[in-house]
């Protein structure tokens, strides 16, 4: 199996943990993995992304334009930003979430519905994940990453088994948050 996956969002949304969980799950299945993440100043509210490449014969962790099988978007504007990397016929799973940049609060903001319309019109294989209800039911808005991971797992877009993802979570999430995270990843059935 060869899979190129891009995770994208805004610093602080938990893309890094989700990326590590996918890599750990792939390694559990004995697959070679390479990945790269945004670290440093951009984490302070900037655009962040992770590239994950699973499979044999991969030279570099970076995914080229038009090469991603899956874009997992944590934020609508950021999802659209990564579309040039999506392969023809690739899948997009996007959270129905908009994070306004501070500059937008000062200058008037951007319209998330424009992004949603653009995604609907341009991505044939699109899943928009409504997360507000899940936040309410789970009592936390900090599980966005695991909800999206769960959605990707549920739609079979990761090419990884539920078992390996669950055990990656068990091994990588602090015990205090484990129960909540396990619930979140299995929220969409």
């Amino acid at each position: 199996m060869n899979k190129n996956i891009i995770l994208c969002g805004v610093g602080g949304q938990g893309t890094v943990l989700a990326s590590r969980l996918i890599s750990a799950a792939a390694m559990k299945e004995g697959l070679p993995v390479q990945s790269a993440e945004t670290i440093g100043m951009a984490q302070r509210g900037g655009s962040v992304f992770s590239h994950i490449r699973i499979g044999e014969g991969v030279n570099t962790p970076m995914i080229g334009l038009g090469q991603a099988d899956l874009v997992l978007g944590f934020e609508l504007g950021e999802t659209v930003r990564q579309l040039p990397y999506l392969k023809e016929g690739g899948k997009v799973i996007a959270a129905d979430r908009a994070v306004m940049p501070v500059t937008a609060s000062l200058a008037g903001g951007y319209d998330p519905s424009v992004m949603k319309e653009y995604l609907t019109a341009n991505v044939p294989d699109l899943t928009i994940v409504e997360v507000e209800e899940a936040f309410k039911e789970l009592g936390s808005s900090k599980v966005l990453n695991l909800l999206l991971l769960g959605s990707a797992l549920h739609t079979g877009s990761l090419g990884l088994s539920k078992q390996s993802v669950l055990s990656a979570i068990q091994e990588n999430v602090p015990p205090k948050f484990l129960d909540l995270n396990l619930k979140a990843v299995q929220f969409y059935k």
């Binding site: 805004v10 610093g11 602080g12 590590r20 890599s23 390694m27 070679p32 993995v33 390479q34 990945s35 790269a36 993440e37 670290i39 440093g40 100043m41 951009a42 984490q43 302070r44 509210g45 900037g46 655009s47 030279n59 570099t60 962790p61 970076m62 995914i63 080229g64 334009l65 038009g66 504007g77 659209v80 930003r81 579309l83 040039p84 023809e88 306004m100 940049p101 501070v102 500059t103 937008a104 609060s105 000062l106 951007y110 424009v114 992004m115 653009y118 341009n122 808005s141 900090k142």
Partner: protein
């Protein structure tokens, strides 16, 4: 992670002392050693890179294998001891890990440690992958001990922060290394002009010999061409992460002959001669300086070879910024005269711009705002520095007029004061930066009768690089709790008489403090003390009383907190982000924002 691989490689090589100063993208190397450290390995975050280099040199003099870590900017700070240690030499293997930052993504400059290697005459390894980084560190220790020289390992951001599954040694296979101890020998360990002349000759001879020895290293190699490209006359030369991009491009463009350079200095000259044989043109693909390109040009000249070496010098490839999978594929296709199947770029709608900002609840926001309010209408200069608080430059705070390098704000404030004494000069510096490089400039200002206000933004951690301890935190990397060094004590100890400490989240008190201290003459200091939100518990959430809010936007327009929004003509607080710092509730003109756990104060 590449940085973790470097750390594990050092442990496998029997490293006995690891020190350094945090800096993106190098930080995780030392942290990983600290996490997995064997019992006989000592680890410290040093006060700055110069001290770290000296601590490392001392241990290496005593025969310990040492690893000293920093980012490329830090190498400038450490260059004084390093230039000299290269002449004096070491006994235990000494690996200097310097992470470069093409882009630059989180640095002030795009300087190239490979160029520094030539300048300092220190051999340099340049890994392309995490696996290679792991292997190279171990080889670097061997080379260092064999020749008694420090050795650079120089990853770039994409290697340092790239992840891959790698093969590692079992602990039983680790090298065991017992240091001999320091043996007195003034002819060796005391640097003198006469000895340096002889050492200079020795180093030049050694590096010349290394061009042969390193030609046989597995880190330098020629990737064979396929039958279809034999005799085409084109070659690619590359190193670092660009090697992985070029190998990816070869899949599509054909297996053209390729030279991979893993030791840019000393350059593998014999191998390069083999590579150049039969070629008409070579495209050099590298980030930052044209190091490989200049070496190949030099070799062609030296041996009278007629090969056209192409790259940055003539503008064929970009001379600044990062390479990408796509940029390398594109330039290789152009060079080889091949058509590329490029995906059609979609026309995207206008996207939100997201410059990095101070976190919601960050105490630095309150500190900057207090100074801004206190000094409104006065002639001021705000010198910023390196750390999260550089982000105080963003609108609407707009409180950073200058930023140069670690600790520079204090000197700049003094220089401006001597030129225009009527300006109220402020130098903002973080707690870690204060200890790293601000103290000599405080004394300089005091001695030379400058007039400026030092503002120490003490959030009790090294926040930007991921919360490393420093002398003010009283915790060491060996897990010990030690007496914390007091910033007030240091300032008063060197002779400052006006030193005030205040909580920046108490807005009224903070403004009054700034007014008081700024009115004093000479060098005076304010310490804004409030912990980073990432190392302290949130105190609850603030809430806007929508009925009381008059929609004046003061909170949004004045402080630029990412947790504050404007919707339906009212201010709104994003609960997921708010930490309850309460700054907005203190500046709301109609008291419509309730501080954490309290009611709004409006009537």
């Amino acid at each position: 992670m590449g940085n973790e691989a470097i750390a594990m490689g050092a442990i496998a090589a029997g490293v006995g002392l690891v020190c350094g100063y945090p800096g993106t993208p190098s930080t995780e190397v030392l942290e990983t050693v600290a996490k997995h450290r064997p019992e006989d390995c000592y680890v410290e975050w040093s006060i700055n890179e110069k001290t770290a280099m000296e601590v490392a040199a001392g241990a290496a003099y005593a025969g310990t294998r040492v690893l000293v870590t920093m980012k490329q900017m830090g190498l400038n700070v450490a260059s004084d001891p390093l230039m000299c240690v290269e002449y004096v030499g070491v006994k235990g293997g000494m690996v200097v890990l310097v992470a470069d930052d093409p882009g630059p993504i989180s640095s002030q400059t795009e300087q190239d440690t490979r160029t520094f290697a030539r300048f300092s005459k220190v051999p340099c390894f340049d890994p392309s992958t995490a696996q290679e980084a792991y292997d190279m560190v171990q080889e670097a220790f061997e080379l260092s001990e064999k020749y008694g020289t420090p050795v650079f390992v120089r990853p770039t951001t994409r290697v340092s922060h790239g992840y891959a599954d790698i093969e590692v040694k079992d602990p039983e296979e680790y090298t065991k290394h017992t240091p001999e101890g320091f043996i007195k020998d003034t002819k060796k360990w005391v640097i003198f002009p006469r000895a340096s002349f002889l050492n200079h000759q020795r180093i030049e001879k050694r590096n010349q010999e290394l061009t042969k020895e390193l030609s046989a290293s597995p880190f330098n190699r020629i990737e064979p061409e396929s039958e279809s490209t034999v005799g085409c006359g084109f070659g690619i030369a590359c190193g670092g992460i660009s090697y992985t991009y070029a190998m990816e491009a070869r899949k599509e463009l054909g297996d053209v002959k390729l030279l991979k350079v893993g030791t840019p200095f000393p350059f593998p000259e014999e191998l390069a001669l083999d590579f150049l044989e039969g070629l008409d043109q070579v495209l050099c693909i590298e980030e930052l300086d044209p190091v490989i390109e200049r070496e190949l040009t030099y070799i062609c000249n030296k041996y009278g070879m007629n090969v056209w070496i192409r790259g940055k010098v003539e503008g064929y490839t970009p001379n600044a910024g990062e390479n990408t999978v796509d940029s390398v594929k594109k330039v290789m296709a152009r060079f080889l005269g091949k058509d590329l199947k490029t995906p059609v770029a979609p026309q995207l709608p206008p996207l939100p711009v997201r410059p990095p900002v101070l976190c919601a609840g960050c105490p630095h926001r309150a500190s900057f705002y207090a100074v801004k309010k206190a000094m409104a209408g006065k002639k001021t200069l705000y010198c910023g520095d390196i750390g999260c608080y550089t982000l105080g430059n963003a609108m609407p705070l707009d409180m950073v007029d200058t930023c140069l390098c670690m600790g520079a704000g204090l000197g700049i404030a003094q220089g401006v004061f001597h030129t225009e004494p009527d300006t109220n000069c402020f130098a903002f510096v973080g707690d870690s930066t204060f200890f790293a490089s601000a103290i000599p400039s405080v004394i300089n200002g005091l001695f030379n009768q400058a007039d400026f206000t030092l503002v120490v933004l003490d959030n009790s951690t090294t926040a930007m690089t991921g919360h490393q301890p420093h002398p003010g935190t009283g915790r060491t990397m060996m897990g010990k709790t030690v007496p914390a060094v007091s910033i007030e004590g240091v300032l008063k100890g060197v002779g400052l008489t006006c030193v005030e400490t205040v909580d920046p989240l108490d807005h009224e008190a903070a403004v009054a403090c700034v007014k008081r201290v700024a009115a004093e003459k000479g060098v005076k200091a304010i310490i804004f003390r409030s912990p980073c939100i990432a190392v302290s518990k949130p105190s609850g959430k603030c809430a806007v009383d929508a009925d009381a809010c008059i929609g004046c936007r003061t909170c949004i327009d004045e402080i630029g907190c990412p947790a504050l929004f404007f919707a339906d003509d009212r201010a709104v607080i994003d609960e997921a982000q708010c930490t309850g710092c309460g700054l907005c509730s203190q500046i709301c003109p109609v008291c419509a924002i309730a501080p954490a756990g309290k009611e709004a104060r409006h009537e």
